[in-house]
């Protein structure tokens, strides 16, 4: 399948039509995508990673959608490389097969914006692409670079006050371990229920959240989603026993979690993740516009959130700031 190389050279994203790149080894998928999106967008197609990267070098795109299972380069690899070439483009992974370790890798390295299951719903896909384009265009390429950790290695605690970290988990062994690893460098709070967590969020200026996927029987997805919506500068790290791809995908899509770590985590990995999370939080505080890139999907769960929680989150005082959508 040849790429429809429209003779559009690298141009200003804000003026031209948004451009999408689809990568899949299955022709029929590319066909259906092309027909679905050609009215509104410029559509580029590639049947493998190499072709995709070549197209990216020659064309600026807003959104890249790639299949995971392809011969040669798999999707996460393609997206990882794509990030280097076009950091501004939003990256979406199409996955029909839950290859969990690859997904985990992509979350923790590649900053996947969204995951899409095969088979998908066209309406949902179109909405998602729309949001992605919007998010892509909120920031310039330079602004996006600010987010990249490699550009800001040790910028950490220049703003004087270290942000506090909230640990939300009732696995006391893990909590003690975290306290041991991080207690020296950071201010730690701990809650064993979502309600208690919200109390702490109320009282303290918390920048980073380390959560389990289930607290006292409740899923944290809703909490994370709401937080991201109303207080997007809080950066969330998930630290969990459950190596479940579905959960990870849900949390990315609904909570735009920053990292997904499996217990027991190696100390170096944990510390590094926390440090990057803090840096991200600092970037958000300095440049609130950056949070525009990390909007969450309006998942049904968010709407069905208990009104109490919604209100509480909306009204969180403390120094979280108020960035309502």
């Amino acid at each position: 399948m040849e790429a429809t190389a429209s003779a559009v050279s690298v141009s200003e994203p804000t003026t031209a039509r948004p451009r999408l790149l689809f990568v899949d080894d299955e022709e029929s998928i590319l066909t259906t995508m092309r027909i679905m999106f050609r009215r509104q967008y410029d559509v580029l197609l590639a049947s493998n990673g190499e072709q995709a990267l070549e197209l990216l070098r020659q064309n600026d795109v807003d959104v890249i959608i790639s299949d995971q299972r392809m011969p040669g380069m798999v999707g996460v690899e393609v997206l990882r490389e794509a990030r280097k070439i076009r950091p501004r483009a939003m990256r979406i992974l199409l996955t029909g097969y839950s290859d969990f370790s690859a997904i985990l890798g992509s979350i923790n390295d590649g900053e996947i914006y969204r995951f899409v299951h095969k088979p998908w719903s066209n309406a949902d896909l179109q909405d998602m692409i729309g949001q992605a384009v919007e998010a892509a265009r909120k920031l310039s390429g330079d602004q996006v670079r600010l987010l990249s950790e490699s550009e800001t290695p040790a910028e950490a605690n220049t703003s004087g006050s270290q942000p506090a970290i909230l640990i939300l988990d009732n696995d006391m062994i893990a909590v003690d371990e975290l306290k041991r690893m991080l207690g020296a460098d950071y201010h730690l709070h701990h809650a064993t229920s979502i309600a208690a967590g919200l109390d702490l969020l109320d009282k303290h200026s918390i920048g980073v959240l380390i959560v389990e996927t289930m607290i006292g029987g409740e899923s944290v997805a809703t909490l994370l989603g709401l937080l991201k919506q109303h207080h997007p500068q809080v950066v969330s790290i998930v630290l969990t026993h459950r190596s479940d791809a579905t959960v990870a995908i849900e949390l990315i899509n609904q909570g735009q979690i920053f990292r997904f770590l499996i217990k027991p985590t190696r100390e170096a990995m944990c510390k590094r993740s926390v440090q990057h999370a803090v840096q991200r939080h600092e970037s958000f505080k300095t440049n609130p516009v950056l949070t525009q890139r990390f909007k969450v999907q309006d998942a049904p769960a968010a709407q069905a959130a208990p009104q109490g929680m919604l209100d509480r989150i909306k009204n969180l005082r403390g120094r979280l700031g108020n960035w309502g959508t």
Binding site: D25, E26, S28, I29, T31, T32, M33, I35, M36, R39, N48, R69, P71, G72, G96, Y97, H117, K118, P119, W120, S121, N122, L125
Partner: protein
């Protein structure tokens, strides 16, 4: 080894020391000693005899006797013998002894020489006396018988001389001297014919006297000769030496005894150790005998244990095979699920989109219908028609007619996608028949095709599959298992080919009562070392976590259970060929 040599050396030294000490303590040969003593005693006797004979010779009893002279060589010989041969005194190495001997020998020599002279003198004395006698007798004969006084004198002279010869007492000497003087006085009175003789006769006694005196002197020296004393010294010296040697020998004997005691103690110790080790050996032997008895029992127990363990192992092997099948099945199912999701994805999308397009087309057609209807209608209003045409134009602009072509494409794709799904599902059904050893008739070409469909995702762009199916009869086998063989070998081939791309050729043929399926690939091949191990359970050339290493061992088992065989040829860098041969019919014992 060195220990042994050292030990031998020490033993040799010990024995040598023993022998040395023994010889030292026995350098005393009693025979020799006695002989020496005998010689000494003999010499003493000889000396006495010499003295006796000398005295006897002095008495002139038997002047012709050679007894004295005969003794001389005997004595010399005896003295020499003392220092000759084994008994040699000089051999004892004792200076005082040697000096004593030398002195003795010299003294003996002197004495013997004196004795010789004495003998000679004695003979001449006897001669002289005899001469006097004859002379006297002659004179007597010549003398007239009248001269009785003279006759008496001569007879007296003769008698005195003879007596003096026997017994040289000093009064005799005087008498003889007087007689001589007298005779000389008488001589001139005698007839002329006897005067000379008478004068001679008169002078003779003095000569005899002188001779005798000299003889006596010599005799005195002989008697006084220190030979006895010297012999005594020799004896004493010899005794001293002898005693010293006795003492030495005694000392050595004591040392020997001590040494022997030490050796004996050492030997006793060794003996004790030996005995101890014999005891240990006995004990060990007894233990051995006992354990031997219990060994049989233990072996029996162990055999039972082993038999049980073996049975358990076999059953868990079966379980492992099953779970490996399940695992690979799981992997395959996951792969198939993905496979299904892809066509499902685009079919759903396509149908959705065609639905939307359909709406658009419906709208357009409605517009057309409406417009045509108005045209057809008898009471058509131009304005209405114009309006309808305007609306139609608008709608036409909205609905891109390319949509029709696109809808066609989407529907064609969708049909294809649905067929894919159909194939996958039916293959899945075929494949997952888990009843293990149910034999059934099976077309291997179909089986290969089915497996290929399942693997399609793996193979897709990288691998070109060439099929050379021959005319093959159906075979009696457990289809799910044989499918597993195919899946395994095709997967391996695809993995060997890797991302470089290559070919897999599948060939089937019938030979006699068997069918052969050949799986050839242009992959990385195997070295002979790897080839030797591929059927070993858990042997894999993949990275950790990427393969159980059980695939080929299960394949091997399945083929064995079907009484088939599998061959492999490979060349590193070129490719690999697996040839699976299965009988068309199984024997009656198919479970």
């Amino acid at each position: 080894m060195i220990q042994r040599i050292a030990f031998a050396l020490v033993a040799g030294l010990a024995v040598g020391a023993l022998i040395y000490l023994m010889t030292l303590s026995q350098t005393f040969d009693y025979q020799v000693h006695n002989k020496t003593l005998e010689s000494l005693r003999q010499l003493k006797q000889l000396d006495s005899r010499l003295n006796e004979e000398t005295l006897r010779a002095r008495l002139l009893i038997d002047p012709d006797s050679t007894a004295l002279i005969d003794m001389l060589p005997v004595m010399r010989k005896a003295v020499d013998e003392l220092n000759q041969g084994e008994n040699a005194l000089a051999g004892l190495g004792d200076k005082p002894l040697n000096d004593a001997y030398t002195a003795y020998k010299a003294a003996v020599e002197t004495k013997l020489q004196q004795v010789e002279r004495f003998e000679t003198d004695n003979l001449s004395l006897a001669e002289s006396i005899d001469t006097i006698r004859r002379a006297g007798e002659e004179v007597l004969a010549a003398l007239p018988p009248t001269e009785t006084a003279v006759r008496q004198q001569i007879t007296l002279l003769i008698k005195e001389v003879l007596e003096y010869g026997l017994l040289p007492a000093p009064e005799n000497a005087e008498k003889l001297a007087n007689l001589g003087t007298e005779m000389s006085k008488l001589a001139p009175t005698l007839p002329i014919e006897v005067q000379l003789q008478a004068v001679q006769l008169a002078s003779r006694p003095n000569a005899v006297l002188n001779q005798r005196q000299a003889n006596e002197k010599l005799l005195g020296e002989i008697i006084k000769s220190p030979t006895e004393k010297n012999l005594g010294l020799v004896e004493a010296a010899y005794d001293a030496v002898h005693n010293a040697r006795l003492r030495q020998a005694e000392t050595y004997r004591q040392i020997l005894i001590a040494y022997a005691v030490v050796l004996l103690l050492g030997l006793a110790y060794l003996g004790w150790r030996l005995r101890k080790s014999f005891i240990d050996l006995d004990k060990a032997n007894r233990q051995l005998a006992r354990s031997n008895e219990t060994l049989e029992v233990k072996v029996q127990e162990r055999t039972q244990d082993l038999t049980k363990a073996y049975a358990a192992l076999k059953s868990s092997q079966a379980q492992v095979v099953q779970s490996e099948k399940m695992a690979s099945l799981g992997q395959m199912v996951a792969g198939v699920a993905h496979e299904i999701n892809t066509p499902l994805g685009f079919v759903r999308s396509n149908v959705d989109m065609v639905g939307g397009m359909f709406q658009d087309i419906k709208r357009l057609l409605e517009r057309y219908a409406h417009t045509v209807g108005l045209i057809r209608a008898p009471n058509a209003d131009d304005a209405q028609i114009a309006q309808a045409f305007d609306q139609l134009t608008v709608t036409e602009a909205e609905v891109d007619t390319v949509v029709l072509d696109e809808a066609g494409i989407l529907l064609t794709d969708s049909v294809r996608g649905l067929n894919q799904i159909n194939d996958l599902v039916s293959n899945l059904k075929d494949f997952s028949r888990l009843d293990r050893s149910r034999m059934d008739w099976f077309d291997i070409n179909d089986g290969l095709d089915g497996t290929l469909t399942i693997c399609r995702n793996q193979l897709k762009d990288r691998v070109e599959v060439l099929k050379s199916y021959g005319q093959v009869p159906q075979i009696q086998c457990a289809p799910s298992q044989v499918n597993q063989i195919f899946l395994n070998l095709i997967n391996n081939a695809a993995q060997a080919i890797g991302s470089n791309g290559g070919q897999i050729r599948l060939t089937t043929r019938a030979t006699g009562g068997e069918v052969q399926i050949v799986f050839e690939d242009t992959g990385c091949g195997m070295t002979p070392e790897v080839m030797a191990k591929i059927y070993e359970p858990f042997f894999t050339t993949k990275e950790i976590g990427k393969g159980t290493g059980l695939g080929l061992s299960i394949v091997y088992q399945i083929i064995e259970e079907h009484h088939g065989r599998i061959d492999v040829q490979s060349e590193p860098g070129k490719g690999t060929r697996f040839t699976v041969t299965l009988p068309v019919q199984q024997q009656a014992e198919a479970a």
